[in-house]
C-alpha cells in the first residue's frame, strides 16, 4: 500500500469521524483527560524527584564522599569513631585536579537551650571549605535564615530552623503573642525597643490549607508571623533584632555528646569472648583474633598479648566489622556554644535537627578529642552547575583517579582503607522511596490510559458493527481488506491524535503554574514533623519533560491506531454477501 493510497484513505477516515461527532468528541475527551493526567503526574513527580536529588547533592552530601571503608559499611550507625587523618593532603590533591572538598566530623548528640532540648546531628566543619563546596551556607543569611555562618576558632553553631524553633533560640518566625511578649521583656530595655520588635510581626492569616492543623487561640494570644519583607531596611531591622537577642544568654546552648573511641580491648571476659565476639567474627578473622589473646584461668578472661601495632589495627578492624561493642569506648562530653545563625535552605536536612560547628573547636579534650581526624571529606567538581546532577566527571572512578593523580604529584598514595563513594550510595533508602512514590501514581495514570484505549477499541468495534453493510458495500466495490483495515486504523489514529494533542495542551496548562509557582506543602510537611519524604522544603515544583510530552502524543496516536486492528480485521473476515445482508 502506497503513501498516496493511505492519503486517500485518510479522507474516508476523517469523514467517518465527522459523521459520528458525538462519539468522536467523547472518545477524544477520554484520551485528552488520560494524556493530561499522565503528563501532569509525570512532570510533577519528576519535578519533585529531580528537585530532591539536586538538594541532596547541593545541600546534604555533595557529589561524593571520601571515607573509610568501615565507615561506609556501618554508616547507618553513624560510627563517629571511624575517622581518618591527613585530610589536608587529600583536599590539596583534589583541588589540584579540579575538585572542591570540605572536611567534616559528623556526630550525634543532644542540644540544650534554656527552653528545652532536641537530638541533633552535628557537623564539625571548616567554614571556608564548607562554603566553597556546599550550597546551604548562604541560606543562613537574609532573606532566608538569620544571623551568620560559623567562624573558625569560636565555639559557634549554625542551626537548622526547625531545631532553632524548638529550642526557642534566635528570631521566632511564628510565635504566639505571649511568647513574643516574654521575649520582648527579656531582650529590650525601653518601650521603643519593644515597639520596634512588635512592628516586625503581624497577625498570622487564618489557616486555609486543608493539611494544616486548626489552632484555637485564647484572645490576646494569637499566632503572629514575621513580616515577609525582602527590603534592605527590613534586613537591617532583623539584624538589630538578632543582636538584641544575642546580647542576652538566649542563644547560649550546650552540646551533650559521647565521644566514641575505638581501641583493642586489653582484656575480654570469657563469657563475652565466647558469646559476643567469636560468633560474630568473619571466619577469616577468627585465627587472627585468637592468636592475639591469651586465656588467663584465674581471672577467667582473655588478655591481649599482641604488641605489633599493625596487627592490632587489623584486629581492631575485625572487631569493628563484627560489631563487637567492647572495641568501642565511650566518653561523655559537654560543650558550651552559642547559636550565631539559623539555616533555612531549600533542603530539609540542613533545616532540621542539624547543627554546624567549626572543626577546630572540636580538637582536644575541650572538644571531641579529634586530634585532626575527620569522618569524611565531601567532594564536588569546581564550578559544577547546581541545576544539574553530577555527571561522569563526578563519578567514584573519576574522583578516585583524580585523587590518586593529585596524591602522586605530592609523592603520596591513597591509603587502602579509604574509598570514594558517590551520593547515590548514601541515599539508597530515599531512592527506593522515590521509586515507590513516583511509580504508584504512574501506574494509576497507565491504568487510566488503558481505560481510554479500551474506550477507543469499543468505539471502533461499535462503528464496525454499525457499518457492517457499508464495509460489505465498499469491499463489493473493490476496496481490499488491507484498505478497509487501514481506514479504521487511521480513524482510530486520528482519535488518538486529536485526543492527545488536546491532552498535551490541557496537561501543559495545568503544569505551567506548577512549574512557575509550585504547590506549597510546607504546612503539611510541618504537620508531618518536617517532611513528606521528598527532600524538598514545602514548595513542590513540576518540570517540563519535553520527550515525555511528545512521546505521550506519539504513543497515544500509534496505540489508538494499533488497537483498531483487531476489530477491523474481524470485520473483513465476514463474507461480502453476509455483510450486505447484515441487519
Amino acid at each position: 500500500m502506497t503513501l498516496r493510497n493511505i492519503w486517500e484513505l485518510k479522507k474516508i477516515a476523517l469523514r467517518n469521524l465527522s459523521r459520528h461527532r458525538v462519539k468522536t468528541v467523547l472518545t477524544c475527551m477520554a484520551i485528552m483527560v488520560s494524556a493530561a493526567v499522565y503528563i501532569f503526574l509525570n512532570s510533577w513527580l519528576g519535578g519533585m524527584a529531580i528537585q530532591s536529588r539536586r538538594n541532596i547533592v547541593n545541600y546534604e552530601i555533595g557529589a561524593a564522599k571520601l571515607q573509610t571503608r568501615l565507615y561506609f559499611e556501618r554508616k547507618d550507625e553513624m560510627p563517629s569513631y571511624e575517622t581518618f587523618l591527613g585530610w589536608e593532603q587529600f583536599r590539596e590533591a583534589l583541588y589540584r585536579e579540579g575538585y572542591y572538598s570540605a572536611p567534616r566530623y559528623v556526630f550525634s548528640g543532644t542540644l540544650f537551650s534554656r527552653f528545652g532540648s532536641v537530638p541533633v546531628l552535628f557537623h564539625g566543619v571548616d567554614p571556608v571549605f564548607e562554603a566553597q563546596t556546599m550550597r546551604y551556607v548562604p541560606y543562613v543569611d537574609f532573606p532566608y535564615g538569620f544571623g551568620r555562618y560559623v567562624q573558625s576558632g569560636k565555639p559557634e553553631i549554625a542551626l537548622g530552623i526547625l531545631a532553632a524553633e524548638r529550642l526557642r533560640v534566635g528570631i521566632p518566625t511564628r510565635p504566639l503573642r505571649q511568647e513574643l511578649e516574654e521575649l520582648i521583656a527579656e531582650v529590650t530595655r525601653s518601650s521603643d525597643e519593644a515597639d520596634f520588635i512588635r512592628s516586625l510581626y503581624e497577625n498570622a492569616p487564618p489557616v486555609r490549607d486543608p493539611f494544616s492543623p486548626r489552632e484555637v487561640f485564647v484572645t490576646g494570644n494569637e499566632r503572629l508571623i514575621l513580616r515577609k519583607d525582602t527590603s534592605s531596611a527590613f534586613k537591617a531591622d532583623l539584624e538589630r533584632f538578632w543582636n538584641m537577642i544575642a546580647a542576652t544568654s538566649r542563644n547560649d546552648v550546650r552540646i551533650r555528646a559521647v565521644i566514641d573511641i575505638k581501641a583493642v580491648p586489653e582484656t575480654i571476659r570469657r563469657t563475652r569472648w565466647e558469646n559476643d565476639l567469636l560468633p560474630l567474627l568473619r571466619s577469616e578473622d577468627i585465627a587472627l583474633v585468637k592468636a592475639a589473646y591469651e586465656y588467663e584461668e584465674i581471672l577467667d578472661a582473655y588478655f591481649l598479648i599482641e604488641t605489633d601495632e599493625l596487627q592490632k589495627k587489623l584486629i581492631l578492624d575485625a572487631m569493628i566489622r563484627a560489631g563487637f561493642s567492647g572495641a568501642i569506648r565511650h566518653v561523655n562530653q559537654l560543650l558550651d556554644a552559642v547559636v550565631v545563625g539559623v539555616i533555612n535552605s531549600p533542603a530539609p536536612l540542613p533545616n532540621g535537627n542539624t547543627a554546624f560547628i567549626p572543626l577546630d573547636v572540636l580538637q582536644g579534650s575541650a572538644g571531641m578529642m579529634l586530634e585532626g581526624a575527620v569522618t569524611e571529606l565531601v567532594i564536588r567538581k569546581k564550578n559544577a552547575p547546581h541545576h544539574r546532577l553530577p555527571g561522569q566527571s563526578e563519578s567514584a572512578e573519576a574522583i578516585t583517579a583524580a585523587l590518586k593523580r593529585g596524591l602522586a604529584a605530592q609523592g603520596l598514595s591513597l591509603p587502602s582503607e579509604l574509598e570514594v563513594r558517590v551520593w547515590q550510595d548514601y541515599v539508597q533508602d530515599y531512592l527506593s522511596y522515590e521509586a515507590v512514590q513516583t511509580g504508584a501514581p504512574q501506574v494509576i495514570a497507565y491504568l487510566l490510559f488503558l481505560l481510554s484505549f479500551l474506550g477507543i477499541s469499543n468505539t471502533i468495534l461499535m462503528a464496525i458493527l454499525e457499518r457492517t453493510r457499508e464495509i460489505g458495500m465498499m469491499r463489493a466495490l473493490g476496496m481490499t481488506d488491507k484498505q478497509i483495515i487501514m481506514t479504521y486504523m487511521l480513524e482510530a489514529g486520528f482519535l488518538g491524535f486529536i485526543g492527545s494533542v488536546l491532552g498535551i495542551i490541557l496537561g501543559c496548562i495545568i503544569n505551567y503554574p506548577m512549574v512557575v509557582h509550585g504547590w506549597d506543602l510546607s504546612n503539611m510537611a510541618n504537620t508531618l514533623s518536617g517532611g513528606i519524604g521528598f527532600r524538598t522544603t514545602g514548595i513542590f515544583r513540576s518540570m517540563w519533560n519535553i520527550p515525555l510530552i511528545i512521546g505521550t502524543g506519539v504513543a497515544a496516536t500509534l496505540l489508538s491506531a494499533c488497537i483498531a486492528y483487531l476489530p477491523a480485521r474481524r470485520a473483513v473476515k465476514m463474507p461480502i454477501a453476509d455483510s450486505l445482508r447484515f441487519e
Binding site: 565521644i259 563475652r272 558469646n275 561493642s325
Partner: protein
Amino acid sequence: MQKLFLVIVMMLCVAAMGFSQSLAQNPTAAELLQRIDDNEIFSTIEYEGEMIIEHGGRRFVKTMRVWARGNTHSFIEFTNPEDRGTRYLRRDNRLFVYSPDIEDVMLISGHMLRESMMGSDMSYEDALDNESLSSRYTPVIFGSDVLNGRDVWILELTETRRGTQSYPRRKLWIDKETGDLLRAELFALSGAKLKVYNVLRIEVHGDRRFPVEVEVRDLLRRNSRTVFIMRNVVLDRPIPDSIFTDRNLRR
C-alpha cells in the same frame, strides 16, 4: 639489760598502736576507694524497687522486682500498672528489653544506651556500668568537708588512662566514720558536671553497709530528679539460672 629491752619493746608497741590509729583517721585515697568497691560486692541480690521520677513538674512512680547475680547478670520486671510486663535482662554487657506492647525483645545497643532509662535521670549506660572504680580511676583526697552534718572525705577520681571512661572525672563524698559513699558527682571530659548521686539511706546487712535509697539528678534535665528505693533486700541467696534467660524475658 632485760629491763631496757622490755622498755624498748613497750615503746615500739605504743608507737605501732599510735601509727595504726592515725591510719584509721587518715586513710589513703586508694583505701577509701577500695572500701567503697568492697561494700558493693555481693554474690546475689533480690529486692523490690521503686523509682520515683520527678520531671517537668510531673511525678511518675515505677515499681519493679529485681534479681541480680554478681555484676554480670540482672533481671528487672516492672510491676506498676503503666509498665507492667516490661522486663529487662542484662547478661554481661548486653541489655535486652521485652516490651508487652510490641510483644518482642530488643537489644539496647549503640546510641540507645545513652538514652534515659524508663524516663529516669539514669541512662542505660549508667545502669550497665559495673566495673570497680579502683581498677579504672586514680583517686586523690581533695579535702574534707561536712555534708548533712557528717564529716566527709572528698575524693577526686581521674581516669587512669585517658579516653577510657565514660565519665573521665568523678568526685566522691565519703563518710569519715563509716566509709559510706554519701554523694557522687560525675563530670564530662570538658570538666562540666553532668550528674549528681546522693545516697539518702543506708541499711546494714551483716557486715555490709548497703545504700538502699539514692537520688539521681541529671543536671541537663531541667527540674528533674529520680529517687531509687530498694525494699526487702535479700543478699547472697542463690538465684536459679532460669531467671536470667530469654525464656523468662519473653514469658
